[in-house]
């Protein structure tokens, strides 16, 4: 665990010592702030509605989730593989899982900082006399962190599968879009919504799960398990892909 934490700190330092993280943070904060204020004005000051929009109810939120994790994770493994520093890391007394887990933690922590800064809107509103529903805000924040970990895990798996960061980002981007659009595949295929395929894919509807539970202030163990299990799967996939490098 100590090694994992060391790798995590190293990755975080690398993120925040470079311009990418700050640019992403500034842009996301500005855009989110803009739409937050816009909706707050249009809704005559609906506090919970505006916060829900900023933390899961808008296209901007999902756009950030699709774009930012691939950008964060694209260089974590593929760039190191290309530059040759990955071999040093893999020959160090650190397991592959610890390496991948550390990098995932770093990416997730970054996303957590991003979402927490939006959750600070709630603190500001409380100071102005319109305290939000803290329970609902907390679950939305937790859900955002869990979903971010999920998409970061997809990004890490893509990064472990290639030596080209841009290709890794592209693969992660496509995979993220595929995950989000899986539930509407039966509609495109003209299948019945009562069929086994439609009902199975409906269970994988990440957006519906998030907006149906976390965003409403509900902690649903099934949704939490779903996100943790599939994050673990992509983590496992990334670890296996990293292992195969030894054989290439």
């Amino acid at each position: 665990m100590q090694r994992t934490w060391t790798i995590c700190r190293r990755e975080l330092a690398g993120l925040f010592l470079g311009p990418l993280a700050w640019v992403l943070l500034c842009l996301t904060l500005f855009l989110n702030g803009f739409y937050f204020v816009l909706y707050l004005g249009l809704s005559q000051g609906d506090v919970d509605g505006s916060l829900s929009l900023a933390l899961g109810g808008s296209w901007l939120y999902w756009g950030v989730l699709i774009l930012v994790p691939p950008l964060l994770t694209m260089r974590m493994i593929s760039e190191e593989a290309r530059s040759g520093s990955l071999e040093f890391l893999l020959t160090a007394p650190v397991g592959d899982l610890a390496v991948v887990l550390g990098k995932l933690l770093a990416a997730t922590l970054f996303m957590g900082i991003l979402w927490t800064s939006i959750a600070l809107y709630g603190v500001l509103l409380a100071a102005l006399g319109a305290a939000p529903d803290w329970g609902q805000l907390a679950t939305a924040l937790l859900g955002s962190v869990l979903i971010s970990a999920f998409f970061c895990a997809i990004g890490l798996a893509a990064s472990a599968g290639t030596q080209t960061p841009l290709l890794a980002a592209f693969l992660a981007f496509v995979a993220s879009i595929a995950v989000l659009t899986l539930p509407i595949v039966p509609d495109f295929m003209g299948l019945s919504r009562d069929g086994w395929l439609a009902s199975t894919l409906a269970r994988c509807d990440v957006i519906a799960q998030f907006q149906g539970a976390f965003l409403r202030g509900v902690l649903d163990s099934a949704h939490i398990v779903f996100l943790l299990v599939w994050t673990g799967f992509f983590l496992f996939l990334a670890t296996r892909l990293l292992e195969t490098r030894r054989w290439r």
Binding site: V37, L40, S117, G135, Q136, V218, D220, S221, L237
Partner: protein, 524 residues
């Protein structure tokens, strides 16, 4: 292969076949991992293995305990099919608000109890598909929620059962816009779920063979709309012909006798009276054309035996013409409009209608009075006047020519005449010791439940039949009063403060931190 070529090939153990084998094992392991992930996800969603905790301040995602208990005890999965359409202006925004709130409520209910409740929202903009489904369900109106469990169904009207509208005041001088008077989806759903899950499907038999109104046909004087409404409400509707089967069938939950043109006959009256006194449930609508009040074997005779005397003649009351003049002597005097002041405020059939300030239309109605005590002793049961005419009503008797003149004449009964009576009769305990009570609803106007006037009186009719089979559950659920928190964006500078903080200060601070870090690294 030459030695030089062999030395350039991969080292032993990592040849192409070895790599293929490793690759295949990796793929297999990943596939197994994916299968495990699917299994874990599936297990986590099994009932009994997952938990759902509502952490909101107002507990917006938690159902009322009464409704939660009903859902928990459902024997299977109930389905709610929504057929919602916007109302025309000026009610469009109000109807959209109600539709959104109803969908939100049903989402919360189905999310909390996914094994017990499924919601299907039919898009009425997809006319072909929605129309086909409505035809399958024999539905002819929109803005309804059909609750079904197996073959049993209960229909909820959005405007009436779930939400009530305050029309406001359209007068431009004192304009008050329409508003939502009440919104109680949890109560409505609870009652509907009880109807489809508790007890057996009640069977209503409509007597035939004496010129009664026909539930199998549709037309102004037929009962087709009533039959469809009863079927939608979870009743089974059939016919009973006393000529073919003299005794009332044992599986009859309610016997309906609506406007027989000929006498029922002494035998039939005896059979029905016997059946009622043994705990049966009777819905009787007096004949509008068979004028005789007395006479053995008539419906009036049957009701007489149960302590309900049908007065001769038809109830009339003055009405106000468009010019403002009060009119009598016109047949329209017999088209009675009964407001909430004419409804019993406590009896289950009319209580909801009274609270909602509803109006009933009872054209060409007879009046009732209590019979002599030897017919119905006080200890045998109780009669309640459900619907009464206004203070200025009277019973208009036909003249020598057999026609009514629709003018009050001395000697004609007047006042708040009972137009619909409900009776509960104590029945002797059976051998098993259980005590049942017989129930009777006597309605003076058969037209009130006919197709021509059913739209106005539908709720009254359905309430009557539900009361007769004791499906008049009252599930009291307090309405939610949670108000969303609002920031004052008009009267103060709050919005400006928020804007400056979230759009400029926070991103600016972030940028400043980044630049500071960059400058410190450069200066080292």
């Amino acid at each position: 292969m030459a030695l030089s070529e062999r030395s350039a090939s991969p080292a032993a153990g990592t040849g192409p076949w070895t790599r293929a084998g490793i690759g295949a094992s990796v793929v297999l392991v990943i596939a197994i991992a994916a299968a495990c992930a699917v299994l874990a996800t599936w297990l986590a969603a099994r009932p009994g293995l997952y938990a759902r905790i509502d952490v909101t301040r107002e507990k917006r995602n938690t159902l009322d305990p009464a409704l939660a208990e009903i859902l928990t005890n459902l024997p299977g999965q109930a389905q709610v099919e929504l057929f919602l359409r916007d109302l025309d202006e000026p009610l469009t925004s109000l109807s959209r608000e109600v539709a959104a709130r109803l969908r939100e409520f049903l989402f919360v209910a189905s999310s909390a109890y996914p094994q017990k409740l499924q919601v299907v929202d039919h898009d009425l903009r997809d006319v072909a598909r929605a129309s086909a489904r409505m035809q399958d369900l024999d539905l002819r109106e929109a803005n309804v929620a059909l609750v079904s469990l197996g073959e049993r169904r209960a229909l909820l009207r959005v405007w009436g059962d779930i939400a009530r509208l305050d029309p406001g005041n359209p007068d431009p001088r004192h304009y008050v816009p329409p508003s939502l008077a009440s919104f109680r989806p949890d109560e409505a759903l609870a009652v509907a779920l009880k109807r489809v899950s508790v007890g057996q499907v009640p069977r209503i038999l409509f007597a035939t063979g004496h010129g009664e109104r026909d539930p199998r046909s549709e037309g102004e004087r037929s009962l087709g709309f009533l039959r469809r409404a009863l079927a939608s409400d979870g009743f089974e509707v059939a016919a009973w012909d006393p000529a073919a089967e003299p005794a009332v069938p044992g599986d009859c939950a309610v016997l309906a006798i609506v406007d027989p043109e000929q006498p029922l006959g002494a035998e039939t009256c005896d059979a029905v009276e016997l059946w009622v006194r043994a705990g049966g449930r009777l819905f009787a609508a007096s004949s509008s054309r068979f004028a005789a009040r007395e006479g053995p074997g008539t419906l009036a005779d049957l009701l007489d035996r149960l302590g309900i005397v049908t007065l001769a003649g038809f109830v009339a009351q003055p009405f106000r013409a468009p010019s403002g003049v009060e009119v009598t002597g016109d047949p329209n005097c017999a088209n009675l409009v009964i407001g909430p002041e004419g409804l019993d405020p406590r009896q289950p059939i009319t209580e909801g209608l009274f609270r909602a300030r509803r109006t009933l239309r009872l054209p060409l109605s007879r009046a009732f009075q209590r019979g002599p005590t030897e017919r119905l002793a006080a200890e045998d049961g109780v009669l309640i006047d459900l619907v009464r005419a206004g203070e200025r009503a009277w019973v208009d008797l036909p003249g020598p020519n057999g026609l009514c003149d629709w003018r009050y004449s001395p000697g004609e009964s007047s006042g708040r005449l009972p137009l619909c009576v409900a009776g509960v009769y104590r029945v002797a305990a059976s051998n098993e010791g259980d005590v049942r009570a017989a129930r009777v609803v006597a309605l003076g106007s058969p037209d009130a439940v006919s197709d021509g006037w059913f739209a106005t009186n539908a709720d009254f009719a359905l309430n009557a039949f539900n009361w007769l089979v004791e499906r008049d559950w009252r599930v009291a659920i307090a309405p939610r009063t949670d108000e969303p928190t609002h920031l004052d964006v008009r009267g103060s500078n709050a919005l400006t403060t928020v804007q400056r903080t979230v759009m400029y200060a926070m991103p600016g601070l972030c940028a400043a931190l980044g630049l500071l870090l960059y400058w410190r690294r450069r200066s080292r």
